[in-house]
């Protein structure tokens, strides 16, 4: 008998793959961008199932609420608004599909032939506190580096756009 987490796992799977198929094969870039939102939402659901409630919230906040909105804005600003039906053309479709299918096959075969050292499921309880302590103790260096990277990215983006404005 399957448990409740499994049911939700399959629901989220359906959400993710239904929308990501739309992302990949839609010829309307805006629809792709909106579908991506549901993919990201479904992945947040995965994180909840995997016991990462803080992570799930961060995923929605940063990914769905930030990056995806940026993508939608970008789509709207780059003139795709005038011809939505053909804004997202693809090329080498068959070739990439064959390649992608092969890749998936290889991955699945590898997955099937590896035995992962799986442990019994433990519920670790609230994660926020431990994640915070890990970030500021064990992973302090990557944390600082990534903060620096974010600042650099922000400054870089502003410089790039400003340059475009001026020319």
């Amino acid at each position: 008998m399957i448990g409740i987490p499994e049911i939700f796992f399959y629901i989220f799977c359906a959400l993710i793959f239904g929308s990501s198929l739309l992302v990949v094969f839609s010829y309307n870039l805006l629809r792709s961008a909106f579908a991506l939102f549901f993919v990201l939402f479904g992945i947040a659901g995965f994180y909840v199932l995997l016991g990462g409630d803080f992570l799930a919230v961060i995923q929605i906040m940063v990914y769905a609420g930030g990056i995806n909105i940026l993508l939608i804005f970008g789509t709207m600003m780059t003139g795709s608004i005038s011809q939505p039906e053909t804004s997202n053309p693809s090329f080498q479709g068959i070739l990439t599909l064959i390649g992608g299918g092969g890749l998936l096959l290889i991955l699945l075969i590898i997955l099937n032939h590896t035995t992962w050292p799986s442990q019994s499921l433990i519920d670790h309880g609230p994660t926020t506190k431990q994640i915070g302590q890990l970030l500021l103790r064990n992973y302090i260096l990557p944390f600082e580096v990534i903060s620096f990277l974010l600042v650099a990215a922000m400054v870089g983006a502003i410089v790039l756009i400003n340059k475009g404005e001026r020319s």
Binding site: I4, N28, F34, M61, G65, N68, F73, M76, I81, T127
Partner: protein, 385 residues
């Protein structure tokens, strides 16, 4: 009840699903009623402020006006404009509604009365607004109307930029409570006003004001109602909506008003905390919580019918140039305050009452002003024939 149903031979998942469905249906119905009553509340207050009466025909004091309005809206023709992106157009109202109704899972109703006390309750509440953003963008894009598109873009830009001051405004309280759960935040405060997070020290006070301002912007309320600015963008992203879909938007808007009020109450105004002596009467805490929430809602409505609207660049300036740096100051200040507080716990006893006293003085000044207004007000003249 579960066991009883299982003993009858019903599958356990079916029972669970039915129970979940019933709870969800109850909360959605309750919310619909709350937001409906809020429409009545808002319209009556607006009426008082504008020397008119407001809805007073349907039911006692017009209380059932929202039912009549809903019935009227359901009967209207459901139009989808030509050239609209039908899928996005239809999906948008539901996304907005889910985005506004999802917070109710973690909103408390009194001392320890809550649907689900998530560990990341507050963060969840902030992040779920992403649904509203995407919903408005969808509506703006899908309507095939340029005014709607401008409204949708404005709305998304506004909500995304005000999410940061709102989150930063919550941080001092979170620091103080050491918890992200709503119950944890509420329990960190006492029943008395000087124990509330808002009056705890100058930094939480600043954070409270920042949070309140930011929430107004996130909820698209005046003076930040640019996405719906009817004198500029006709009606913003919902221009092309009619009938049931329009009703859904309005349900969402007023439910959002309640969410803002309840969140402010729970995080900053002591929630439904009661003094020791009154704690056995738990229902009083529900009453107290609703009272505070409705007071905050009243303030928001009051502002809406008083203030003019910002312009989009002024709005962005306010967020990025003033609220954000201020919220960093508040966050840092609160951290320093807590360090000092750790050494000398006495300071906690002092700052709260002082801040509350300052607030009382401001209130006194306000009432003094109101009294002057009343005194100067001549009696109404009668020029009728």
């Amino acid at each position: 009840m579960e066991a009883f149903a299982v003993s009858l031979g019903v599958h356990i998942y079916l029972v669970k699903a039915i129970i979940m469905f019933i709870i969800a249906a109850l909360s959605v119905t309750f919310m619909a009623v709350i937001s409906g009553l809020t429409t009545w509340f808002e319209r009556r207050i607006a009426g008082r402020m504008q020397s008119r009466i407001g809805p007073n025909r349907v039911g006692p004091q017009g209380l059932l006006q929202f039912v009549a309005d809903a019935v009227k809206l359901f009967m209207k023709e459901d139009l989808i404009p030509k050239g609209a992106d039908r899928l996005l157009f239809k999906m948008s109202p539901y996304l907005c509604m889910i985005g506004v109704f999802a917070p109710f899972v973690v909103l408390p109703w009194g001392m320890g009365i809550i649907a689900a006390d998530l560990n990341v309750g507050v963060l969840y509440l902030i992040s779920i607004t992403a649904l509203v953003v995407v919903g408005t963008l969808m509506a703006g894009w899908g309507s095939n109307n340029k005014w709607s598109l401008l409204g949708g873009m404005r709305s998304a830009a506004q909500i995304v930029s005000y999410e940061i001051p709102v989150a930063m405004g919550l941080l001092p309280s979170i620091l103080f409570a050491g918890s992200l759960s709503m119950i944890g935040l509420m329990n960190a405060q006492g029943w008395a006003p000087w124990q509330w997070s808002a009056f705890q020290n100058p930094f939480t006070m600043i954070a409270f004001l920042i949070f309140f301002t930011g929430s107004l912007a996130e909820g698209n309320r005046v003076p930040f109602d640019l996405p719906e600015a009817e004198s500029e963008l006709v009606s913003g992203f919902n221009t092309e909506y009619s009938g049931f879909r329009f009703a859904v938007y309005f349900l969402a808007e007023w439910a959002n008003l309640y969410v803002i009020g309840a969140l402010t109450t729970a995080v900053f105004l002591g929630g439904g905390n009661l003094p020791e002596a009154l704690q056995p009467y738990w229902y009083l805490s529900i009453f107290l919580f609703l009272l505070k929430t409705f007071f905050i809602m009243f303030v928001i409505i009051w502002l809406r019918w008083t203030l003019p609207r910002f312009r989009i660049d002024q709005l962005m300036d306010l967020s990025w140039k003033y609220l954000l740096p201020l919220s960093f100051i508040a966050f840092f200040g609160q951290a320093v305050y807590m360090l000092i507080d750790h050494q000398f716990p006495v300071i906690d006893m002092v700052t709260g009452p002082i801040m509350f006293l300052i607030f009382l003085l401001v209130l006194l000044k306000f009432f003094y002003r109101v009294a002057i207004n009343f005194r100067e007000q001549n009696k109404t003249v009668n020029t009728r024939a």
